[in-house]
């Protein structure tokens, strides 16, 4: 097969597009710099800015508080890492329970439905209080806050995530299930081999959304007395009466969320281009 040589006309068009592209980049850089300069000058010249800067954005305090806030943040990361696993497993079980057919499974179906209704309705902080302070009083042994945190997060987020999974399962076209059953696959086999793999693709964007939301809510475990990033910042703030450590802790959470958000955007875009392969618009 010979390689197609572009005509002079096409080459000219490409040269034009390239020069336009370069110009666009330069314009974008220029306008961004100008905009940033204006914003910066406005903020710095606003009366009271130096007080704001001292109270919230003191670089020295930020640097000094970072090690302790970071140590606390590691605890948040642990709770989050464990919760991803427990939430994933529990949510999948609940979602599958809700799709079971047959009268035998009615109690399980009803229970799963009641659970999701209940825990999507209760404010997370109440769950946290009940689990964090309630369970230890009954059990009578000291339970590490990390465990209590994981339990609370799992209870609440399993309800949200199971609904996402269920929606994903129901979004798989019924003809797929029909084709699988026609081949003789059982309900469970159809679910595992045909429905769930396709559902997973559909539900990735909303799942990522819940994941970002969970990353932040993990910061609430500070109320259990665990020295996490938020609690560490609070302790420092109490000692020196400066709010910069909170900003540091907040930035750590943002830095954690950004990769997840970007990943979601990238994945969604990829799904879109895949579904529209061959078309430009």
């Amino acid at each position: 097969m010979t390689v197609h040589q572009p005509s002079e006309l096409e080459l000219d068009r490409r040269r034009y597009r390239r020069s336009r592209g370069r110009r666009s980049v330069l314009v974008a850089i220029g306008s961004t710099l100008a905009f940033a300069l204006i914003v910066w000058l406005t903020i710095v010249n606003t009366p009271g800015w130096s007080q704001v800067q001292r109270a919230f954005f003191d670089p020295e305090i930020a640097w000094a508080s970072l090690p302790r806030v970071w140590d606390g943040f590691l605890l948040n990361l642990q709770v989050m890492g464990l919760s991803v696993i427990t939430v994933g497993a529990c949510a999948l079980v609940i979602a599958v329970l809700r799709t079971l057919r047959g009268p035998v499974f009615f109690p399980l179906r009803a229970l799963a439905a009641a659970y999701t209704d209940l825990f999507r309705g209760i404010p997370f902080i109440i769950v946290l209080y009940i689990v964090g302070f309630g369970i230890p009083t009954i059990v009578g042994v000291r339970i590490p806050p990390i465990v209590l945190g994981v339990i609370a997060v799992t209870l609440t987020y399993s309800a949200y995530v199971s609904e996402v999974i269920r929606a994903g399962i129901e979004a798989v076209h019924p003809s797929q299930r029909l084709a699988a059953r026609a081949l003789g696959l059982r309900h469970g086999q159809t679910m595992r081999r045909i429905v769930l793999p396709q559902a997973l693709r559909k539900m990735t964007p909303p799942l990522m959304n819940d994941f970002v939301s969970m990353q932040k809510d993990v910061g609430l475990i500070s109320i259990l007395g665990a020295v996490d990033a938020v609690r560490a910042a609070q302790i420092i703030q109490g000692q020196i009466y400066n709010f910069t450590p909170y900003v540091v802790a907040g930035l750590l959470f943002v830095l954690l969320a950004i990769p997840t958000i970007r990943l979601t955007d990238w994945y969604t875009a990829r799904l879109r281009t895949r579904e529209q392969s061959g078309s430009l618009l």
């Binding site: 797929q176 084709a179 081949l183 003789g184 693709r201 392969s277």
Partner: protein
């Protein structure tokens, strides 16, 4: 000739709408039967009921003299003895063509992976799709997808093939390649019950034509009789729309 698949007095309603109103139909081993009739006459529903993909409201279905409409039989086992091909192919988009073809062999019939893949590749090779075995279905043309779907259905050597208007979603130039494959299967002695709007094809391949109208079998017989000299006025009327 005893029937391999025999249904008597099938009734099926969706809510108030009665789609099958006492249908009797039978297919002998190695026989090709074409179901014709207008859209909504109950062809698809009949095929689904026979393949146990819908529950019936009344009547009886016998496969090799076993009552498969008895709720005590394991429906999954029975379904595995049928091969079904649908109008819109229904290939699994997340699996490669070869995985589509070998899925049932491997997980329903417990054929070892290597053996299932060898068989699947041999079948795909026969229809000229071996090169595309590793591709996902969306990379195939409609005709290729439908032929792959047929191969998926026959890979487990089903006793009866149920084909539900398998060329209706295809461009005219792709219809030929799919029907060619069905003709080959018929020549090889497959037992086929197919709903179709391809009258010329039905005349050529089918041993018997069954005309469904309003959920009832209005007329049946050899193609030369039903298609060329129908007894019923309704059949004549229906066929005239295809000849016009």
């Amino acid at each position: 000739m005893t029937a391999l698949l025999r249904a008597t007095g099938l009734w099926k309603a969706f809510g108030e709408r009665e789609v099958l109103r006492g249908v009797d139909v039978e297919v002998a081993k190695h026989e090709v039967v074409a179901l014709i009739g207008a859209s909504g006459s109950g062809k698809s529903t009949l095929l689904r009921c026979l393949g146990l993909l819908e529950t019936i409201d009344d009547g009886q279905i016998l496969l090799a003299d076993q009552d498969i409409s008895d709720p005590r039989v394991d429906a999954n086992r029975i379904r595995a003895r049928f091969g079904a091909v649908f109008q819109s192919y229904n290939l699994f988009p997340h699996l490669s063509v070869l995985e589509n073809v070998t899925l049932a062999s491997r997980i329903v019939h417990d054929v070892p992976r290597r053996e299932a893949e060898q068989r699947g590749l041999a079948l795909l090779d026969r229809i000229g799709l071996a090169d595309l075995a590793k591709e996902h279905p969306d990379r195939l043309s409609g005709g290729q997808q439908q032929r792959a779907a047929i191969v998926r259905a026959i890979a487990t050597e089903p006793e009866v093939l149920l084909l539900d208007e398998i060329t209706s979603a295809l461009d005219p130039e792709l219809v030929g390649e799919v029907l060619g494959l069905v003709s080959e299967l018929a020549a090889d002695g497959a037992t086929i019950l197919m709903a179709t709007h391809e009258m010329a094809f039905a005349r050529e391949v089918a041993h018997r034509i069954v005309f469904l109208d309003g959920g009832e079998v209005l007329e049946e017989g050899p193609p030369e009789q039903v298609l060329a000299a129908p007894r019923e006025e309704r059949t004549r009327e229906f066929l005239s729309r295809f000849l016009a």
